[in-house]
Symmetry: C2
Subunit: 356 residues, 2 copies
């Protein structure tokens, strides 16, 4: 059954959720979105894989990207959706009802209905957000058709409980490796114990006091943690290697390079430092006039985003970007994922007012 | 071809080596040993699985067990054996030439030839020494027919370079487990890091100064080591568990219970203590008159054994026991395992003189 864009954004959320679209299986939902928008006279509709772009070409002096992903994490007995009430609150329950079919539904409804928004809008629904970064639809578009992402401001419809979350921390992963010499543990003194040599690394991590750094009015809380540790060969062998895998989340005031220099200074004296992964943070960009205007219009409070999100991809392109969408992010990926339907309506109303 | 017990102990070693007998595959070599001994009028020959016992019943007031295992670690292109010379030294090369076919061959030759030793002798060739303890042939006999192990003194023909190695350290393995609370590493402060909590455990291990303890004139060197460490769930999750697996090798002056009390006192304040494995040490027993007489007769120096060996099984039965055999123990299990043939002859001569 084709999507009904004249239905409410709540109903449209339900329709989108009931089209299963676990990452890698987005073709059907992309087909439906493309079909629903094609033929609307105020939109140019383009497709790249299972990513759909619909944009106005009104010659406004500002352009905004409003984007959201259409894939979900795997289903676990939580489709089809159903409505349920809890006290006075009505919820839509099921996979994708938080992350992030409501944001995609609101965008779809507004794309169809707002023929003359006060800024040009590039509406965007993309695939493969819930899996490894190299498959990410937005990243793919930035490589293949970056001109389609040109804009002065971007909004990602990720669940944020209706608040505006700006920027994000950077994240970096690295190994600190200690070495030793193997020996039979019955003659331990013939060897050198690499696990014992990891003690100063754990001491440094346990004693580290992470900073909280204010960036453009938002406070980003940093963290530094061993997330994995592995060492040893067998129960009777003195271990010759121990690997501590560390995750550093750093405020967007630091570049990735600066974060790396800081970590190398701290850990290179303690072991071999092997950088595994580095993603730049994103400044919130809330001092941009369009962002200020958006905040005022939607009447939402700004908060820092801690997790790395696709906001950082816009930031890397020089476009201020925020997360703004219905749904409680702590329920994302949960088996009892559900959204208070009033949040969907509120989000639609706020965006509509800002764009009208 | 049947074993030729009239050949030299060097030649007999070669014959035993060329019968492949990796642990679990000892039937053929046990058959050959049984066949070679059966019918000799001065010996009572018994079989239990692939373990062969041959004993004199001369009514002597002292009885000695002389035992050796007949299995080897897996073959790795190192059979059949060959003789090779290196300078003035002639070697027999190949799997089992050190661990421990020469000891088994010397015992076999002397069992056949010494019809009237000055003590009663229980000769013993057993299976499954190179694998887990629950399969060990000697342990099986101690369970099923302990009376066959009755003796005043025991000699294991394990390679000891012709020295006498007395007793052995005990060994104990335990986990020290720290717990935390999982959280997404982007919001690390919502969790508690179990790996960081392992820092005091590694500090205690790194700072520990193991003792050296003299027992009956031999100095046993202790050791305490983390041999394995593992913690963490994924690169973006604060870990909720870290397991440090520790091996404590303790002098035979301590009972296993005492060793456990010591380790619990040290580590229980730092994490959950889980005992995994405990094997008592064995006192050298070299103050026993028979042991002293044996040492004087073979003219060998006594040294402590560090690794846990089957000597401890005799010790547990109250029988003083030592390792004494041809071959350099550092070549045991090596692909270039080889024995200086002169060591075989020397060992045979010393045992023959002591028993005659």
């Amino acid at each position: 059954m084709p999507l009904d864009l004249s239905a409410s954004s709540i109903e449209l959320t339900r329709q989108l959720c009931d089209i299963e679209s676990v990452s890698g299986d987005e073709r059907e939902i992309a087909d439906e979105i493309e079909a629903a928008l094609t033929g609307l006279p105020h939109l140019e509709v383009l497709r790249e894989g299972d990513l759909i772009v619909a944009r106005t070409r009104l010659g406004r002096d500002r352009r905004v990207v409003i984007a959201g992903h259409i894939d979900t994490v795997p289903i676990n007995g939580n489709l089809p959706t159903r409505f349920e009430t809890d006290g006075d609150v009505t919820y839509l329950w099921g996979r994708g009802t938080v992350d992030m079919k409501p944001g995609a539904a609101v965008a779809l409804k507004l794309a169809a209905e707002l023929a003359e928004p006060n800024v040009d809008v590039t509406w965007l629904w993309y695939d493969h957000e819930e899996v490894t970064s190299d498959l990410n639809g937005l990243a793919r578009l930035a490589r293949t058709r970056p001109e389609l992402l040109d804009a002065d401001f971007a909004i990602l419809g990720e669940p944020s409980n209706g608040a505006v979350e700006g920027g994000c921390n950077g994240t970096m992963r690295f190994d600190v490796v200690t070495r030793g010499i193997r020996a039979h543990s019955a003659r331990a003194w013939m060897g050198e114990n690499a696990i014992h040599r990891a003690a100063p690394i754990l001491n440094a991590l346990a004693a580290f006091e992470p900073e909280s750094i204010e960036v453009e009015g938002l406070v980003y809380r940093e963290s530094l943690n061993a997330v994995l540790i592995a060492g040893g060969v067998a129960g009777n062998v003195i271990p010759d290697e121990c690997v501590v895998h560390v995750n550093y989340r750093f405020a967007p005031s630091r570049s990735g390079k600066e974060a790396e220099v800081k970590m190398r200074a701290m850990f290179e004296p303690l072991g071999e430092f092997v950088l595994r992964d580095l993603a730049e943070g994103a400044r919130p960009g809330l001092d941009d006039p369009l962002a200020k205007q958006f905040l005022a219009a939607v009447g939402a409070e700004a908060a820092p985003k801690y997790g790395w999100t696709d906001v950082a991809r816009f930031s890397a392109l020089g476009i201020p970007a925020v997360n703004y969408g219905p749904g409680d992010p702590s329920l994302a990926h949960a088996d009892d994922e559900r959204v208070a339907v009033e949040q969907i309506t509120a989000c639609e109303r706020a965006l509509r007012e800002w764009l009208a």
